[in-house]
Assembly symmetry: C2
Homo-oligomer: 254 residues x 2
C-alpha cells in the first residue's frame, strides 16, 4: 500500500509542513520506501518531482520540506510497490493532458483484473494497475464529453461516479486534480481537514514539530489537506467512508 497527500488552497500556500509529515512515512515511520512524488500546480502549470528512492533518504524530498514553494493544488504519493517494479515510470503521481489542462493522479491500493480496462488513445507507459486505471478514467472522460465541459466540476463528478467500479476490482483510494479541483475518493482509508481563520497551532503526528498557522496565514486563507492517515495529532480530521468521494475547489469542500 501507499500513502496519499493532497492539498487544495484558495491562495498559493506552501506545503513544507504537511510534506514533512508524509516524508517521514517514506521509510522511517512508515514502510513506503519504493519511491515518492509531488506534483504541484501554479495556475494551469504543473511540475512533478519524482524519485524512485525512499523519500526519507531523498535530498530532493528534504529540500521540498524546507523550501517554501507555493501552490493552490498539490498531489503527493509515497509508494510501497505491489503492481509494477520500482522505477520512475511506475512512480506516482502521473500527469496527462486532456482538454488543454494537466490532470494529475495518484492511487493508493491494488486492483485485480485491470488489464482489460479500455484506455483508448491514453496508452499506459509503465506497468502499474494505478496508471492503467488513470488512463481508463481519461478514456471514459473523453467518451462522456465530446468536448471539454464548461466547468470541470462535471468531469470530476463523472470520475467520482466511476470510482465504485474500480473499487470493485480491489482497493482504490484516489486523488485527482486539474489544478483547480481536487477529487478524493475513499475505498479504505482517507482523511481530510480544512483550515481557516481563526488558525491555530498544529502538531505533526510523525515528528516532534508544531506550526502556528496564525503566523503564516491571512484571515481569508482556506486550505484543505487530504491524507491517507491524519498528519497532525491535535486537529479534527474528517474520516472518509468506503465508497465516499469528496471534491475540493480552491480550498473548500464542495
Amino acid at each position: 500500500m501507499c500513502e496519499l497527500l493532497g492539498m487544495s488552497a484558495n491562495v498559493p500556500t506552501d506545503f513544507c509542513f504537511s510534506f514533512k509529515g508524509l516524508r517521514e512515512r517514506g521509510g522511517k515511520t512508515g514502510p513506503h520506501k519504493d519511491g515518492w512524488g509531488v506534483a504541484f500546480y501554479q495556475g494551469k502549470g504543473v511540475t512533478t518531482f519524482k524519485d524512485p528512492n525512499p523519500s526519507y533518504q531523498s535530498e530532493i524530498a528534504r529540500l521540498l520540506t524546507d523550501y517554501p514553494i507555493k501552490t493552490t493544488a498539490l498531489v503527493a504519493h509515497i509508494r510501497q510497490a505491489n503492481s509494477g517494479g520500482i522505477g520512475l515510470e511506475n512512480t506516482h503521481p502521473f500527469t496527462r493532458t486532456l482538454w488543454g489542462r494537466y490532470w494529475t493522479y495518484a492511487h493508493n491500493g491494488q486492483l485485480k483484473d485491470f488489464a482489460s480496462l479500455p484506455v483508448g488513445q491514453h496508452q499506459v507507459v509503465g506497468q502499474t494497475d494505478s496508471e492503467h486505471a488513470f488512463c481508463y478514467l481519461l478514456h471514459r472522460l473523453e467518451q462522456q464529453f465530446s468536448q471539454a465541459p464548461e466547468d470541470n466540476k462535471a468531469a470530476f463528478e463523472f470520475v467520482a461516479s466511476l470510482c465504485p467500479e474500480l473499487q470493485a476490482l480491489g482497493v482504490f483510494n484516489l486523488l485527482l486534480s486539474d489544478g483547480e479541483y481536487l477529487l478524493a475518493y475513499c475505498s479504505t482509508k482517507l482523511h481530510w481537514v480544512t483550515r481557516r481563520a481563526p488558525f491555530g497551532v498544529a502538531r505533526l503526528s510523525d515528528m516532534d514539530l508544531d506550526i502556528d498557522f496564525a503566523k503564516e496565514t491571512t484571515a481569508q486563507d482556506v486550505v484543505s489537506v487530504i491524507a491517507t492517515m491524519p498528519l497532525t495529532s491535535n486537529e479534527q480530521w474528517q474520516v472518509m467512508q468506503s465508497g465516499q468521494s469528496q471534491l475540493f475547489y480552491l480550498g473548500e469542500a464542495v
Copy 2:
C-alpha cells in the same frame, strides 16, 4: 531567446557538471532569468523539475548541480520570455504522452503566425509559441503514423523533416526526446560534443571548474551533450548549421 541543454548517454550518467554551466547563464553569466526546467529519463519514466524563477537563484537548481541523479536522456531549458508570460505553464520543457511513451520538448527561438498550426487533440495549456509548435508536431506524428512505429527513429526522422517548416516561421532550435532518442534541430545556434574513452579533463566556460571525466567513467561510456553555446572551453564542439538536424541514440550520434 533561451538556452537549451540536452544529454544522451548509453549508461545512466549524472548531469551535475553540464547543468552547473547552464545554471550560471540563468541570470548570472546570461540573461535567461524567466524560469528553467530539467526533464530527465530513467528507462521509460521521466520527471521534470521546473521553476519560473531564475535558475541562478533557485535552491532546487542548486541542488541539481550537486546531487548526482543519473539519466540516459535529459532535456533542459533556461528561459528568457518572449511569447507567453512568466509562469509554470509556460516553462519548458514540456512533456506529453504518445504511443505509450513520454515525449519531452524544449524550444529556443520565436515563431510568428503559429496560432493557425493545427494541434488536433493535443490542445495547448499555456500561451507560448513553443508549446503550440510541440502540440503541432505531436498532431502531425499521429496523422503520419496510424499506430506507433516499430522503432521511434522513423518518428524522429519525420519530426526532423517538419522542422524547416517551423523554422520558416521564425527561429526554431529544438530538442526532443522519448528517453531513447534525442533529436536536435538547429535554426540559428546549437553545438554538440560526444565524450568517449579516452576521457580527459573538461573545463566549464561559465565558471572556474574542471572535471576529470576519466575518474567518473568506464571505458564503455558514451555521452553526447548538446547546448546552445559550448559549455566547456577546452573541448571540440560540433557547430550545427542552420537547417541541420542531428539524432542521438543512447549517447551516439546516429
